[in-house]
C-alpha cells in the first residue's frame, strides 16, 4: 500500500489495454481493472456530493480513498477531489474514440 501526498497536477485516466486502465497521479501510475474503476467512481461520487464536500471542508479538509482493492491510498484535498471526479465523469461518458 502506498500513500499519495501533495498533488499539483490533475489526475488522468488512460486506457492501457482492453480491460486495464491507468490512473496517473502526481507520484505514480496506478493500474486498475474495470470493476476497480467502477468502485473508484462510486467512492469519488459519494465524496463529492454537496453534503460530503461540506463535511470535508468543515473538518480535516482532505479525503483518503483506497484504490485498486485497497492496494493504494490516495490523499486528496477538495480541488484534487473535484478534478478526479471530473476526470472520471469524462472517462465514463466520453466517446469511444478518445480512449480506444
Amino acid at each position: 500500500m502506498s500513500r499519495e501526498v501533495d498533488a499539483t497536477y490533475p489526475y488522468q485516466i488512460k486506457q492501457a489495454t482492453f480491460c486495464k486502465y491507468e490512473l496517473v497521479t502526481p507520484n505514480k501510475e496506478i493500474h486498475l481493472n474495470f470493476p476497480q474503476m467502477l468502485e473508484l467512481r462510486r467512492k469519488v461520487n459519494e465524496l463529492t456530493t454537496f453534503d460530503s464536500l461540506n463535511e470535508i471542508i468543515n473538518s480535516h479538509n482532505f479525503a483518503l480513498i483506497y484504490v485498486a482493492d485497497k492496494e493504494h491510498l490516495l490523499y486528496l484535498d477538495v480541488p484534487q477531489l473535484l478534478k478526479l471526479q471530473e476526470e472520471l465523469a469524462v472517462f465514463f461518458h466520453s466517446p469511444a474514440e478518445v480512449y480506444v
Binding site: 486506457q15 467502477l38 467512481r41 465514463f92
Partner: protein, 169 residues
Amino acid sequence: MNATAIRKQMSIHPDVMDLLNQQVAMEMKASASYLAMASWCDQRELLNSKAFFYKQAEEEREHAMKIFTFINDNGGAALSPEVTNVNNDFESLRNVYETGLEHEIAVSESIFNIFRSARKEGDLITEVFLQWFITEQSEEEDTFRSIIDVFDLMEGMPLKMIDERLPKE
C-alpha cells in the same frame, strides 16, 4: 450510449446504473417494511394479512435481486444496500395496507424515473428490462387498492372477519 469509451465493458449507462442501485436499496427497504407489517399482523393473529405481507416481503426481495443481478450481468457494479429506519409501529390494519400502497406508489414512481432516464440516455437494455417491473407495479398497486376497497365495504365489521376476506397473496 453505443459510442461511450466503456461500452465494451458495460452494456448499461453508468448514470442509469446508479439509479438501479438506488432502486435495489428501495426494494430491500420495501421488503423490510413488509416484514415489519407481517410481524404486526402475525402478533395479532390476522392470518390472511400476515401471509400476504410475508409473501410481499419475499417478492420485494426477489425484485431487488432481479435488479442486482441485472446490474452485474451487464458489466456494472451492484451494491449491497444499507436498510435503516424501518417502521414497526402501526395504528390499525387499514393503516398497514394504506402504508403498503404508499410504498408501492413510491416504488412505481422510482421505476418510471429510471425508465425515463434510460430512454434519455439511449440505454435500451435497461428500458426493456424495466418493462416487466412496470407491469408488475401496476398489478401490485391494484392489489392494494382492492384490499383497501374491502375495508370501505366492510366498515364497522370485526377486524378478524375483514381479515378472513382478504387475499393471502
